[in-house]
Structure formats: structure tokens, C-alpha cells
Symmetry: D2
Subunit: 339 residues, 4 copies
Amino acid sequence: MLYFENDYCEGAHEAILKRLLETNMEKVPGYGQDPYCDQAKEKIKAACGCTDGEVYFLVGGTQTNAVVIASMLNRYEGVLSAVTGHVNAHEAGAIEFTGHKVLPLPQKDGKISAADLKNYLETYYADGSYDHMVFPGMVYISHPTEYGTLYTRQELEDISGVCRKYEIPLFLDGARLGYGLVADTDVTLKDIAKYTDVFYIGGTKVGALCGEAVVFPKKAPKHFFTMIKQQGALLAKGRLLGIQFDALFTDNLYLEISKNAIDTAAKLKSALKEKNYQFFLDSPTNQIFVVLENQKMEELGKKVKYGFWEKYDDNHTVVRFATSWATKMEDIDALIEIL
Amino acid sequence: MLYFENDYCEGAHEAILKRLLETNMEKVPGYGQDPYCDQAKEKIKAACGCTDGEVYFLVGGTQTNAVVIASMLNRYEGVLSAVTGHVNAHEAGAIEFTGHKVLPLPQKDGKISAADLKNYLETYYADGSYDHMVFPGMVYISHPTEYGTLYTRQELEDISGVCRKYEIPLFLDGARLGYGLVADTDVTLKDIAKYTDVFYIGGTKVGALCGEAVVFPKKAPKHFFTMIKQQGALLAKGRLLGIQFDALFTDNLYLEISKNAIDTAAKLKSALKEKNYQFFLDSPTNQIFVVLENQKMEELGKKVKYGFWEKYDDNHTVVRFATSWATKMEDIDALIEIL
Amino acid sequence: MLYFENDYCEGAHEAILKRLLETNMEKVPGYGQDPYCDQAKEKIKAACGCTDGEVYFLVGGTQTNAVVIASMLNRYEGVLSAVTGHVNAHEAGAIEFTGHKVLPLPQKDGKISAADLKNYLETYYADGSYDHMVFPGMVYISHPTEYGTLYTRQELEDISGVCRKYEIPLFLDGARLGYGLVADTDVTLKDIAKYTDVFYIGGTKVGALCGEAVVFPKKAPKHFFTMIKQQGALLAKGRLLGIQFDALFTDNLYLEISKNAIDTAAKLKSALKEKNYQFFLDSPTNQIFVVLENQKMEELGKKVKYGFWEKYDDNHTVVRFATSWATKMEDIDALIEIL
Amino acid sequence: MLYFENDYCEGAHEAILKRLLETNMEKVPGYGQDPYCDQAKEKIKAACGCTDGEVYFLVGGTQTNAVVIASMLNRYEGVLSAVTGHVNAHEAGAIEFTGHKVLPLPQKDGKISAADLKNYLETYYADGSYDHMVFPGMVYISHPTEYGTLYTRQELEDISGVCRKYEIPLFLDGARLGYGLVADTDVTLKDIAKYTDVFYIGGTKVGALCGEAVVFPKKAPKHFFTMIKQQGALLAKGRLLGIQFDALFTDNLYLEISKNAIDTAAKLKSALKEKNYQFFLDSPTNQIFVVLENQKMEELGKKVKYGFWEKYDDNHTVVRFATSWATKMEDIDALIEIL
């Protein structure tokens, strides 16, 4: 069986495991106060060009979204997100569980536009009874999006401009950020630090056992540490996160290993094009969405694990093939042969 | 100045005030345990044909929606509502404040359809990872809707059928229920009790100073009383609500006074048609939505208070004229003259 | 049967009903934007000596506590309260429902002391891991307390001093404030406005049908109006609250009618002393707590309704007799005869 | 510097790291659906003698408490806990953040008694207005407690008996369960499974990098999986938890490595007794609490890291020495020399 179901089916990159082993019996303080966390934070801030910022390590993606959003919103505010955004669609109501509404925005290929955002805000404040509604208090975007697509630098700048005009923070979910940074893009880590107010660098899907690095390019909300604990997201052995991110941000490992996902995805895309498969949309990163005739899909399912995405029509389904830092080119070849 | 801004700009029907005066110095237990509450509950259950059901009195509409929904949902569930539903759009996030997501459904003239509901539920459960999402745990409809429209008996039966198949309760928001019952409709109070699992009979907008009567045709959730208190919705002097609903459900007062809103609205609609005003939609109840050219709207605003509803296009706006139990026909005449 | 069960068993003072009748058919804006609310607010601010402050009207006591506390706390904060405080003991967890912990302080006769408060705060911040605990973010006191006792001006000043040193707001629950102000006390409404950051003037228990006036001597939290709505506490016909408080703060009515509760309670206390009843504690206001032998209590229960308070020992119980603005001296005489 | 600050300052037991390495590149499903989780669950259920039960893996202790409690309580219920219980005192309000009150019970050496519990419940239901208060919906105990003490089997049986009489679940927090099971005790894992309704087996403090195994001896709450996700506690790479617990429950490793903490603690306690140190209380497990004169404490602090526990009096402080699965006997010897 070939596995292209998701980008988190293996363990961790060997460099990470090596560091965990080497440091295992050192005695260090808990809750992220250890030297490995410190060191990793400095490396991340340097890579992001925000040495005066703050970095916190959390365990997983939904958790990170819920902690960041619930910590930055005032209680009368909700978070704006593409209707297809992970926080709106796939997190079991984790945001609402903290008392906040997700305010859906139109999307195209998983992305929102500065124009739609501006229109939403203008319309909201033009309504005479806006104080009977949920205040838009934050903008959430993902990069890559849930559809593997990327914002351009100009798009980020424009969205950021609207946010700053309305004084609401911009939050970028980077669960798969590594794959976004090494794809065909003009957006760098420093751009992201420049245009957003908070973002996270995904570890779980890019080589770590677990862990997401939340970066506040300027300043974290007051008592963010306590709010992490309050949401049950504070790891006692914070070293587990610090050591992993320290390894990932040493010698450019994070970006280096991300390239493998892009290279393997590129080869797969070429083959799919050649074989005239119908793409659901054009994704420049490690997720490939194709429309399969249902019977074809079922047959394929006997040999390959893929992600079932959504119904396309009565006879067709959108499926996802995901590559990762760990995908072997030989598995791509095997898949191509089957297709 | 003429007032057609809303249906809650006067105090209460005189029969209610009379009863409040007559009973004022009687000493009765608090928290809805008084004989007036008991008596009103019996009359309401009789009118609804559900003498084995339960009735509770709450103070206002948003409060009632939040208490009912948060009491009936399991914590992993959200409530399905038309995207234009009051709970989704105009309650400052009161539902989300209790931890639950509002799951938007498509709407037409403020109404959802059984087909769309069925499609939502089928699609939800067909998704292999539905347990990563918010379970649809309840259906919210309003009748009349936020646009003054009404479900037919068949539509109610169909929606109810889908709910029962999926074992999720159907909740009908009757903030303006009186006006819905005396309009041109085949839906009676008994039909509503038959097809829903909980609904409320609006007092605030239909002759009372405040108060909504929540009816559970079969059974209230366990410890509903305590949950009312927990949400700060329990009135110490529950008599205030009991006496009002007792008056409203004596000698058919509730429906009698509702007719005035329909009659006055009908006259206004005729005149608007005659004068070739553009209706935004066709509402059979006490809310009339017309599309006005912006300059016309502003001029009108000097003599009449109306509700600003939404932007129609750059030059036009949708405004609402609302009549009520208290609207005088002479004010309608005066308005028609101005139009 | 004689009623001394509580201070909310009658309707409203006749002056209030009169005003409700007189203004009933006037058409005014909703949600507290009407002239009666405006007028009542000005009168209240004048009476409190804080003409630059803000006043909001809410419906009931538990609701007011929940709305005020949840609006003023940061999400990582809890509210300090006497362990016997209403918010800790008798509100069905309404504060916790909004996500905040009630942090219990020791009490004596229902009151906290500045010394205990200071000690709590010092100990809290002396703990090296205080950021793993709930930040003390507000102090809640009631005046009169749940036991009818009163703070002296000096005690209020001292508690206020500790709060200001630690920059946490002081909130005074005045559900029975009228009775506290006309008892034997050196505390005035202006003192309360001076020493607290927010307090409320209870209407429900002091002559109104419902309603509590929340006073922010300086400034309300940002978007307090929206948070009222978000918690389902915004009354559509806000006039109902405005008109009542306008009446209560016209010609000193609020204090005038409060005196009756104190006068009737004083007479009852004298008689109880004379008859050698055991007082549970010495309350200067309208609530009298006596320890009754259980059989005596049961016999009394055939002729008088009182409040069952708490078990004293296996053979005795603490019961409460409450007087109010509406208590008739002849009922006191009748009660004394029975005792 | 010697480290006795806590029991989570090292990484993981080598057997765990070995298994993580061996399985690292295997491709397995996410979210705990992998074969290692399955296998670990079976081993745990066998060890607990509840093969029909359910096991779930969560990441940390506060998270586990918050997820379990918030999933098992009805929304009108709170959780009973010793006033010193971790959920009441040291979790930043994580339980209240989910909307539930922690109802404090008296404690002795960190333990509650069946008698106090029974008394609380009897008093609660004897109060005529109990439905205005928070329903006691669950009992939380820790074993070992926050003070390292243990319940006897009889005590557990008695507490369990009260819970079952009142039909409220008993939850045992076993963050340090291993140390409790191998200490001088008559309580086995099977006893715990017999007397509780849910408990967890702590990994973080007993040899794992992270992870707690929640055991429902009978049945988990409906949709527990979704509620884990809703609280941000679902690990994408669930294998990380499954592999660790699989290792810990293979060849009795969990109990084997726990013994080291007890053996090293025993030696330290002997030496402390010999040197006439004052014990704050008598703990049979891996946490030792002694009362130190403040100056002595400070001097000691130059050579040893210990836990600052609480102020004892103006001149003395309670400090904690913690041993663990990883503590070396030579470090104990070194500490004894310093004392």
C-alpha cells in the first residue's frame, strides 16, 4: 500500500531524534523555561527578522489556533476567516468553545481577498446597529491554505493594510509553512513577520513529532503564558518542543527538508497532467487535489491511501494526494505507475 | 413624526397593565412559582394542545434563544440556522458565548428548506472525518422569519421530518408568533406544538412589556430551571411574566391584538403597491420591506421613522416599515399620504 | 398566613406603576435609548455625585453580577468574593459559566476584610508560580451583605485602598442598597461611588418590578452595551427600566420607601430581643436571622412564611425574616403576637 | 547543582526512545488510529482488568483534567475536589474556562474523606433552593495527591460508595500513579478501575516525554474523541503517545521504573529523619515535604534545586524534594551529605 493520505504519517526527521537522544538525561526546568527553548526562540526570531518579538511553543495546530485566537480577541469580538478556513470548518468548534464566533468571508481557492475583507468591515461599520452584532476582531488566514494555495506578497501586504487600518490583528496559520516557503513564491519568513501580528511555524507536518512555534513579531498578549496553561496547552516537558525547533532551525533544516515535499509533489503533478487527470485547483505546494470518477477512485483505493476531500458531483469525487518532508521519490514513481 | 421603526416602541396592552395593577400588592412566591405563572402555563398548554408539556417564562428574545439552545445542545454540537437567522446575525454572538457554533444554512426570504437541511446532514455524515467537525445538534427556525415570511404547514412538517429522522430537536423562534398566526397561513399554534420540540411565543413584540413563553410540547431538558438561572435569565418577580401571559391568553387576547398589526400592514401594502413602490420581498405579516431610492429615503426620514435594513445597491436601500398590536390606522393613513 | 419570606413578594411601588401607565402609549426607541432611561441616568449620577460616570440598566441581580464581572475581568482573571458571597454560593455557577473562577475569601458576618484581601494578594504574588494560577482580577462585595450586614465607611475605604494599590476594580453588589443606605450607617451613595469602580443600585428588592442600575463612577468597559446583549441581558423595551428608575430617583423615593423596611425590621428585632430569641448575627438592615428550635420552627411555619437559611445544629435551624418597602406595620404586630 | 525540583526534569526512559526510533519511518494513520495506540490500549486495559473499557491518550495533566471533567459534567454541574486539589489550585482556572465550577471540599494531607463528601451532598440536597446552586456532578481526587499521600483501598471504596449512591462519577487524577502503585499501599490498578469511573495513568512524570492515558473502566462519554479535538487536545501524530505507553506497559516497565523513585525517596527520608528535619507531613511516595528555617533554605538553595511549596511561618518555609524514575542514588547520597 502506498501512503499519500496526509503529511503527518511518519515520525520525526532523524536530526530531531538524534538531538532528543543526546539531551535526554540533562536536567532542565519545565514549562518551556529550559535552554533549548531559549535557543530555539532566538534562532526563530533571527530567521524571521524580528529579534524583539516573542516566540512560544505549543503542541498542535487546532490547539494553537484556539489559544492564539482566544487570547487576542476581546470577548465581544469574533475572528474573520475564509469559509473554508481550518478554524471554521475542521476544528470541531474549538474557537466557539472558547466563546468566539468565526465570521466567514468568501474564498477563492482557499484564500480571502483584501477587497472582500474591506467590504466586510465597511459594511459592518456602516450598519447603524453594528453594536448588536459580533465585532470583527481579528483576521485568520492560512498559508499554505487548506487547498495548498499561497498568498502573494502583494496580497499579504494588501490584507495587512486593511487590518492595520481597522486596527485588528492579522493571524497567519502556518501549519504547513515550510512547504509554502520553498514553493514558487515571493513570500519569505521575514515578509510574514512584517505583515502579520502573529503567525505560527508548523512543526507537526514538517518534520517534528509534534509542536508549533507561535511568533509574535512585536509582542505577545499580556499573560499569554497563563492563557496557554488555562487552555490546557502548556507542556510540562517543554524541552520536547524546544529541542525539536532548535534542530529544525539549525543549518536551515526546516527549509531544506521542506523542499522534498515540493520536489516530490512536482513530479507527481507532471505525471497527472500528462495522464490528463482533472485538477480541482492549481496548488503550488505539497497537496494535490484531483477530481476522480468514483469507480476509478475506489479501484485506486486498493493500492493507494489518499485523502477523500469532497463530493464533486454524483459520479466524481475530489481526492487529495499529500507529499511531505519524508516522501520517497520511489513511492512517487510507484504511484505514477498505478495512476 | 410617524413611527414605523419597529414593533416594540410602545409599552403594553392595557389589559396587561390592568392586571398588573390589580394584583400588585398580593404576596406571592418568587422565581415563577406563583399562581399567575401556573395559570398562564395551563392556558398556554391548552392553546397549544400539549397539556403534558412544559412552559417557562423568560424575559427577552436573544436571551431565550441563548438559554434554549445552550440547554438543549450537547457540548460537541452546534445549531443549524438560516444564514439570516437572528441567532446567526443579530445577537452579538450570544450563542457562541455559550460555547456553541451556529451552522449556517442557505435561505430564501429568510426561510430554510427541508431539502437543504437534509442535504447538509447527509453530506455531514458522509464525510469520513465528521467527528473532527461540529455535530449538527439542533435546527433553529423563526416564524415569522426576520423578513416577515412564514413557513407553510407542509414546509414545517417536512423540516420536522428531517429533524426527527436525524434525532435532532427543532426549535421555532416565535418572537413575532402572534402576527404569524393571524396572517394568511395554514399554520396553527397546535401545528407548531406538533412539529417542533421547543418554541417560544413572543410577548415583547406582541403586547407585553417584556417576556417570552418557552413551550416544550413534550418535556424540558433536565434542570432547565437551573440553567435559566445559570445564564442570568431567572426573574425574581416571576409574577411580572406570569400575569402578562395570563392576560394575553385570556379570552384569546394574544391573537385578537395581533390582528391589528396585520390589518394595518395590509392597508399599507395596498397603498405601496398602488404607488408602485418596489417590494424587497413579499411578506405576509407585519414587516414590510421596500427598496427606496436613497434621496427619497432621506426625505422620508424627516417625517417617518423606519428601519434601515440593508444596502440594495449604490443608489438604493432596503427599509422596513413595521406595524404592531398598537399601530393606529390613522397613522397608516398619515404615512400613506406622505409616501 | 403572614409573609416574611423575602423582600420581593409584592409587585412595585404605586408611583412606579403610575408612571408606567402615564407613559404607556408613547413611542420611544428601544434598547435603553429612550428619554426615560436618559433622564433616570442623569438623576442617578447626580445622586451618586459622579456626573461624568455611566449608568446602565439591567434586569436582575444574578444577571447583573454575571454581566459586570465577565465584562471587567480579563480572561485569565477571577473575582475575589467572600465565601458566602452571592456570586460564590447562590447563582448556579453563573460566573463560572462565563469562564471565570470565583476566588473565595474568608468572611465574618458576610463581610471580607481589607487585611484578608491584602494577605491574599501578597501571598498570591509571593508564589513563584503565580502565573500557573488564576489572577485575582476584581473584588466583589455586597452591601448589605447576604447576612444583612454593612461595611463602615472606613472598611470600604480600606478595601478600596488595597484594590487600588493592586489596580483591580472593586465591585459592590447593591441588590438591597436602599436598605443599607437608610440603616444606621455612615456610608452614603457618594461614598460608594468614591470607593468602588462599579456598583449597582438594586430595584427588584426595593420597590421595582424588576431592574438594577449599574453605575460606573468613572467609565464603563469598552463596548459594555454589546456585552450586555451578548449575555442576553439587553431589554428591547428598555423604557420599562428607565421609567422605574426615573420614578425611584424622583423626590428621593428610593430612600423614602427603603425606610419602611428598616422601621418594620427594628420593631420586629425589639420584640425578638424582648422575647429572648437567639439572633444568629446582628444585622442592621431588613433581614433578621434567628436560631429556632426545630419544633418551634415547624409550628411557626403554619402561620408565617420565613426563609429557611441553614442548619444550626441537629435541633436548631437558622431562619430569616425579611421586611421590605411594602411591609405593613400591622403584619409586624401580628407576627410579634405569634412569636 | 543537584536537582530535586520536580519529577519531570529529564527526557524519557531509554526504552521509550528506542521504540520511537525503531518505528519512526513507519507510515501510520493519525489521531490515535494507529496500531501502536491500539496495542497500548489493550495492554493498559488488561493491566487494569477492564478489557471492556476504553482508553484515550492525551498530552498533559492539566489538559487531561480539563478534557475529562468538561466532557463528563452536565453544564449545570461542578466538580467536587479537595481545596488543595490540582484542579482547584494550580491550573490557571482551566476548569472554569470550560464553564464549570470547582466545588471545594475539606482536605487532610491532600485527601478528602467519604464522610465530608457525604455531608456535602446531604447538605446540598437538604437545601430547599438547591436548584439555585451548582449541582455536584463529579468527584475529583488525586492519587498520589498533591502532597504525595495515598488513599487506602478502604477509603477509595468508601468514597466510591458515596459517589455511586448519588450517581456521580468518581475521577482519579493519576499524574503520578506509578509512584503510588509501588509505594507501601494496598491499592492496585485493578482496584482503581473498580472504584472509579474514569482515571488517568500519568506518563509525563513517570518516564514518558509527554502523555497521559485516560481509562474509562466501563464506557467513555459519547463523542469523547470530538470533545478532545474541541479542546485542542487531539495529537495529529497520536503514535507519539501510543508508542510511549506501549513501551511503558510492556514487561511491566511502568511499575519497574516507578520503584526507583520510591527507593531513592526512602533513602532520603531516612536521612532526613536521622538529621531531625521537620516533616511537613508524612508522604509515602516520591515527594518529600520538609519545613526549613528560611536562612537554612537559602543556603541549601545554592547547591540544590528544590520546590518552594508554601510559607510555614515568618521564619520557616515548606520545601519539596521530588525523586523520579530517573533519580540516581548517587545524587541522593550527595544531597544527604549537604543536608
